[in-house]
Symmetry: C2
Subunit: 235 residues, 2 copies
């Protein structure tokens, strides 16, 4: 069903054909984790909720695949935090920007930033660097679902707390992220939404969640879970 | 480069959009194996060469992704063995059959079976069962690169020796196959071609290669290699 949805989204200009290949890579890791939220991912999702609640200017950065896969979850999370939404595409054209932003608006998003970029992310070339001053550029905490490694690293280099959603625990994005969530995007946003509700107003739990989290340890436990799953395939 | 090629092949009708997602899944496993032929894969490739050389009617079964990714390698292997080539598509339409067969012919394939099927693979529904009597149906050894699990199982149930090329060692195809090759298709065909040259005429080595191979052991070693690679990601 997800595959048919994505193929339809290619037809609508929201997803690129290479976005389908990217989806397949994610599916492979999801399969290896048993297509469920594993414990280290849930801890990362709780930590992410704490960062988003505690942020001065939290931003949720959305690309074509993220919009196609989980516009409702991302929009609900943005409203709950609340956080700004900014669209940022790897393969940027005016038509695709419009297709992705329109899709988000049709799914109930309020203001969506990105149509008129007025800043650049340092260290990135061409249109990939484009962003808005009030959104990505000035954000302190940024959620980047299905992001490429270059951009994740560039955002970290700007001093931001970067929360990634990327099923591969060894990807450049996961390695760079302050909070790497290795989970399928819809499960990740549903869990974050729940944790936002649980943590809101509880300053002590928010601080504790932020301080006790280790991204390297989280990724190591994810790798262990994948290996356990692979080996269990023989039992 | 491979990604651009595949996207172009979607435009030509050789690959389907869902074929791009399938490519992504393969890429994830290839990445986990270090994008190289690991030892158990090489052993499977040698065993596969032995089976192909020793067969009465060896057939190489080609679908859209296989044709797009490695028509030259598959054709060279078919000529070397020699083996028949038959096109068999999961999403079969007359236009796609023609696109895939024409692509193979333009890459130098001789006779390509599949345009006029006159038999059915038992246990499969609809057009997916269609095959030719002189090719797939009467084959004793069949190479199925990037095959889906249903068809691989149905071919095994017909009593055939099924050689799969599938990067996921836990997929239904790999589990069903007599000789599961977990390797990228171009590397797999290049290695098989080399082993066909080495083993040709050496009856003793051919028998020994066939008898000493264990598909379960091969897949277990593949899983071990993937886990080693994942854990090495932290060192």
């Amino acid at each position: 069903m997800t595959r048919e949805l994505l193929v339809e989204m290619v037809g609508r200009g929201v997803v690129t054909p290479t976005g389908l290949i990217s989806q397949g890579r994610g599916e492979a890791y999801d399969y290896l984790m048993g297509e469920r939220t594993i414990a280290p991912a849930e801890e990362a999702e709780r930590t992410a909720a704490a960062h988003l609640l505690d942020a001065r200017n939290p931003v949720i950065c959305i690309n074509g695949n993220a919009a196609a896969l989980d516009a409702p979850g991302l929009i609900a999370l943005a409203k709950a935090v609340p956080a700004r939404i900014e669209v940022n595409l790897f393969h940027r054209t005016p038509e695709r920007m419009e297709a992705v932003i329109s899709h988000l608006e049709s799914e109930g998003a309020g203001e969506v930033l990105g149509r008129e970029p007025d800043e650049r992310i340092p260290g990135l070339e061409h249109d990939r660097a484009l962003c808005t001053r009030e959104g990505i550029w000035s954000s302190d905490v940024i959620l980047v679902p299905i992001e490429d490694g270059d951009r994740a690293e560039a955002l970290v280099a700007m001093g931001k707390t970067v929360i990634s959603i990327d099923l591969n625990p060894l990807s450049r994005t996961s390695r760079a992220a302050s909070v790497p969530i290795c989970d399928e995007i819809s499960r990740a946003t549903a869990n974050m939404l729940r944790f936002v509700g649980e943590l809101r107003g509880d300053g002590q739990s928010i601080i504790k969640a932020k301080e006790s989290f280790s991204p390297a340890e989280c990724r190591r436990r994810t790798v262990d879970a994948i290996c356990d799953s692979l080996r269990a395939g023989f039992e």
